[in-house]
């Protein structure tokens, strides 16, 4: 890089009231959690913002929770029911745990058709069978017409730790390889297209998938597997930034290296969206030691969900706290947290 790129700090203001952008998985979401929510609950044993945490220090049981507000509730390739099961299981999987039970709490808006509810829940039940998790308890609330969003689902998931080593951004070292497990962008674009009835995107389907089988394939890498996260809201751009934020390390990625399908690339470009910022429901990022990258890729390539896994970059000491991207013409630029209103109610 010829010119040193000055790096602006993440300067997000306390905006006074919650805006839709606080939920889009980008810089403002992170800011809300870090500045408003986490400080109230932080403790020595829960100092990092992870997808799942142990029931108590040293416990082999990990717990996660998630809320689902996707609009519309049914879209090509999935629905809110299936999403709520797989999404919860995936948070446990990337934390090194095999999911085994889930709770479901429903917030239903007055007027929501019973047959839609039945369809969504039948789909959740089917997904739970596929993922071999049991629904052990639940709750049902109804809110007045106009005061809800159709159907919201909140889950808690518990899993048993299978991967004995710690998985945390703190374990990431300079030289480590950054791997993306599959083509990015179809979920967010599919939901957007279904909501806005965009005919251009008819060919798209959500990539929603149960990631445990692919993720657990990497467990034999042992300590060489440093960290994993599923790239949901805010897309892969958010995940990479979260890994190095407030860290002495940075990540450098290669723009041409990311797996993106031709359809996603075209439609995203028409809509002015960056595929790296779009939510996925079947893609994760994995950081592995440099010496283990070939093995990691071989493992992923042998699995249907990881067939198109790619090495996209590496961890370095060059630009602490930043993700830099080498562009197709060999230039360098920042790959920032997604900002502004991405796509609301995408998962």
């Amino acid at each position: 890089m010829r010119r040193v790129l000055p790096l602006w700090g993440l300067a997000v203001k306390d905006a006074g009231e919650i805006r839709l952008e606080h939920g889009s998985g980008g810089a403002l979401s992170r800011d809300l959690v870090e500045k408003v929510i986490h400080p109230l609950f932080r403790s020595d044993s829960y100092s990092e913002l992870l997808d799942a945490g142990p029931l108590e220090q040293g416990s082999d049981f990990l717990m996660t929770t998630d809320g689902y507000v996707v609009d519309p509730p049914f879209f090509p390739g999935g629905d809110i029911g299936r999403l709520s099961i797989f999404g919860t299981c995936n948070d446990l999987a990337v934390s090194g745990a095999k999911p085994f039970c889930i709770s479901l709490a429903l917030v239903i808006e007055e007027g929501f058709p019973v047959d839609h509810l039945r369809r969504a829940l039948a789909s959740a039940a089917e997904a739970a069978r596929e993922a071999e998790v049991r629904i052990v308890t639940g709750d049902t609330k109804v809110v007045p017409r106009g005061k809800g969003g159709g159907l919201f689902i909140t889950t808690t998931g518990v899993g048993r730790r299978v991967f004995p080593h710690s998985l945390s951004p703190g374990r990431v070292q300079a030289g480590d390889a950054v791997i993306v497990s599959g083509p990015v962008g179809p979920h967010g674009l599919t939901v957007l297209a279904a909501r806005e009835s965009l005919p251009v995107a008819e060919a798209l389907r959500s990539d929603m998938a149960f990631l445990y089988p692919a993720v657990s394939g990497l467990f034999p890498l042992a300590e060489n597997l440093r960290f994993m996260r599923d790239a949901t809201r805010g897309g892969i751009a958010s995940v990479l930034n979260e890994i190095v934020q407030s860290s002495p390390r940075g990540i450098t990625v290669e723009d041409g290296a990311f797996p993106v399908s031709g359809d996603v690339r075209t439609i995203a470009s028409l809509l002015g969206l960056n595929p790296l910022e779009i939510a996925n429901e079947g893609v994760f990022a994995a950081i592995v030691a440099a010496g283990a990258k070939e093995e990691a890729l071989d493992i992923l390539h042998s699995h249907p969900l990881g067939r198109e896994a790619r090495l996209v970059g590496r961890v370095s000491d060059d630009a602490p706290g930043r993700v830099l991207m080498t562009t197709r013409v060999g230039g360098t630029r920042i790959l920032d947290f997604p900002r502004g209103l991405l796509l609301p109610r995408i998962c």
Binding site: R2, W8, K13, D31, V329, R333, D336, R339
Partner: protein, 359 residues
Amino acid sequence: MSDESELARSLVSEIEAVTARIGRTVRIMEVCGTHTVELRKQGIQSLLPRDVALVSGPGCPVCVTPAGYIDNAMRLISEGRAQVATFGDLMKVPGASGRTLSSLGGTGGVKLVYSPRELVEIARGSGLPVVFLAVGFETTAPTIISALLEARDQGVHNLFLYTAFKTVPPALRFLLSNPAHGIDGFLLPGHVSVIIGADAYAFLEHDGGRPGVITGFEGLDMLLGILGLLRQIQRGERRVQNAYPRAVRAEGNPRALELISRTLEPRDDRWRGLGTIPGAALGLQAWLEDADAEKVFRIPPAEDREPPGCLCSQVIAGMSTPPQCALFGTRCTPDDPVGPCMVSSEGTCAAYFRYGGSR
């Protein structure tokens, strides 16, 4: 290494050689907002020698729209006189009052559109007059006008345009009329030129003109455009060169130009940061005045008032770079923007913040 980056490398060496021969700092203005973004997004700016300074021009339509335009649009909604439809970029631009259209999002008064084609259906389904915020350059105007004409053909008469269309050539002429402009050459817009044609820039070749290269948006296109400009500067030439011939013709797009000349006419209008530029805006012709929101709703002229401390007007005129603004990256970020250059996806400040930029 890919073919693309190898080609880029040889272009960069050539750019370095020519710049060294010029022997001074060269200021190149990229006129178009899409170039402003792509030059940084594709890392072109990081490949250039220090002596090539890229200066962003007034090519982001949202940025050059005066703040008062937003206030006028909000007033239509709050007074219950119309529903307002707009592209997303305008939603978060603060008006002179500091308030944004997105703050009215929950009221149903604002409808976000992705394409002007949606306007006919929106108007048909609305019980209120629908006023579209018609902001854009020669590229956007024809599609918006087509939607208006289609609505009228289909007997939908509650669609109105609040026009803030701008045209590029008069703005460049205006910039050059300031003796202190300090611009050595123009990277001319690709998309706008597809419509207006290369011949529209002929004035650049006359006295007081500067070299211009019509440039595409791929990384290699932009490097070629910059190299073309540097070569002209080195030789002391001022020609309009078309380095985007796969899309741009000398005469432009006759159908779009015919549509514009049949429906719109030049007006003197305020450009944020630049003041009133003669003939640099397009308004509806008299035969369409029953669809002209400004006339039908008696909208007053848009006030042009900057938020305190905001340097947007300087940035738009190419007189300042974003990091020179005290608000940049501190009080003003894409998540909480103060000025339009940080709001718009084509704004200079947003491009610097998101992708990095020097000086």
